[in-house]
Amino acid sequence: MATLPSTRPRNRRLVSRNTVAGWSFILPNFVGFAVLTLLPVLVLFYVAFTNWNVFGAAEWTGTANFRRMWDDASFWTALRNTVYYTVFHIPLTLAASLGLALLLNRKLRGVRFFRTVAFFPYITSIVAIAVVWNQLFSPEYGPINALLGAVGVDNAPGWTTSSTWSMPAVIIVGTWRYMGYYMLLFLAGLQTIPAQLYEAAETDGATPWQRFVHVTLPGLRHTTFFVTVLLTIESFKVFDLILVMTGGGPGQSTLVLSQYIYQKSFEENQFGYASAVSIVLFAICFSITVIQFMVNKRRNS
């Protein structure tokens, strides 16, 4: 916008007028954001280079925390587990939530009830979720393994009691929990696709699949981008679900970075080191987000 040919002074006036307008829109939110979020985050960046123990002064230790991390096997385990979770959680949740949204964006009897149902996992108390899913997964008494046994699986997995299967179990529950949340965003996105586009496609004789590829997906571009970015960050930061499901175990099989940060800071009082791990987690999320932004920009233009 504002690409009309104009002389320099007019252009400058436009820029300054826009700056004032832009900032006046942003300001009410920005004041709260800057003081309550940005400022503490900046402090965090400082703390990452110290040996702060939460009480009293912090001593500047340079890159010592980061050098320690390099040799810390637990950090690498936590990073590996986080990536493991993310790599499966993102595509599964994306597919499930988009599928749900398409399924529920229709005029069906009772569809409102079903939409609410789809949202239930997200609002159900996390304690109840942990209790029920752990019981469902119980290798000896749980219905899941009973079902697997009935269809002829002899060596049914140990799920949350086995270090091989606990992460898949957590991924399943994670997807189950969050798909309603992202479904909601997709539903909102679907409302912006003009019905005329579908009608036009139908007149042209497009198959349902073609309509999905050529109308729905492009129409959802902005929503999909937003969902992917959020989902990426949410997956990398996964914390409470794992804490109540497995507590990171058995052993370190489901230990993730957020939990490692909590452990190092609040349980072992190494806030400096924990902050450094946070910075790494932040850097990973942020660089992926920036890449997503760039890809998105290129696709838009």
Partner: protein
């Protein structure tokens, strides 16, 4: 579930009653049945833990954990729903949480959508960098900067007040990001022609953007409401006085107090979910049917 088999129902969002040939009606009835079957199956899977929660809340305490699971309460104990009000401060917890959720939602929707317009439609120097800073903070785990934030809030005399929760939740980057993405789907020409008509930026926001973004505003409101409602770590860090407890904090103290009384704990959990479920059930027409009636003339 893959997107492939679910793609078919998509065209059903076309305006109903747009005359179709009868042969397609039959096919569509077939699809409808398949759709229903899929829905019922999915609903069962989604509701299972909630169902367990309700059933557990109607059991005697010793029946909650049995090996294997019993899926029906026998006998049905309705008493739990009376007991919990006497044995806990449920009314206070619900009241606090409702108040917090509403105030936070209101502030987040208003300031978030306002700021999002600035980011989406006004071009000024430093805009993109600032927006990246917003999104970047979402990527920082809260538990790693909550101590500096807590110290700051204590200096502002806000800790151990409900205001602290309002302050940390209401100005989040989430709403700004969500609304910005949404505004960008609205055709630029709309605001351009309004600008030609002499409408100010605020006027464009107020008259054009707001009415068109109802679905996004509604989903932002809903998600903010639920997030605030379910937040545990925030109230845990900031609130101390028992009379300020939120539902999640209250439930947790309740659990430790009656550690083995899972039936009662589940009763509390069911009660904590119900208000959100009702709000969702009632609120969704704003973002599903909102646009369908106004119509988007792109």
């Amino acid at each position: 579930m893959t997107t492939t088999d679910l793609a078919a129902p998509a065209p059903a969002i076309t305006v109903p009653g747009s005359g179709r040939p009868p042969s397609r009606r039959v096919a569509s009835r077939g699809w409808r049945l398949v759709g229903y079957a899929a829905l019922v199956l999915a609903a069962a899977g989604l509701l299972l833990p909630f169902y367990w929660m309700v059933v557990a809340s109607l059991k005697t305490n010793s029946d909650v954990f049995t090996i294997p699971i019993t899926w029906l309460p026998d006998p049905v104990v309705w008493r739990n729903y009376l007991d919990i009000w006497q044995r806990s401060d449920m009314t206070t917890w619900l009241g606090n949480t409702l108040l917090l959720s509403m105030v936070v939602t209101l502030l987040q929707v208003v300031t978030g959508s306002f700021a999002a317009y600035g980011f989406a439609r006004v071009r000024f120097p430093g805009r993109n960098a600032l927006f990246l800073a917003y999104v970047g903070t979402i990527a920082v785990p809260w538990q790693s900067y909550m101590i500096p934030q807590f110290i700051l809030m204590s200096k502002l005399q806000l800790s151990n007040t409900l205001w602290s929760i309002v302050a940390i939740q209401a100005f989040g980057a989430f709403g700004v990001f969500l609304m910005k993405q949404f505004y960008e789907t609205i055709p630029e020409e709309l605001s351009e022609s309004a600008r030609v008509d002499g409408l100010s930026e605020f006027g464009i926001y107020r008259r054009i953007m707001l009415p068109l973004s109802r679905p996004a505003l509604a989903s932002l409101a809903l998600l903010t409401f639920v997030t605030t409602w379910n937040d545990y770590l925030g109230p845990l860090i900031y609130l101390r006085s028992p009379e300020l407890r939120t539902i999640q904090l209250g439930l947790n103290t309740f659990i430790s107090q009656y550690n083995a009384e899972y039936a009662l704990i589940m009763t509390g959990s069911v009660l904590s979910v119900l208000p959100v479920a009702v709000i969702f059930l009632l609120g969704q027409r704003y973002f599903i049917e909102g646009i369908a009636t106004t119509g988007l003339k792109g």
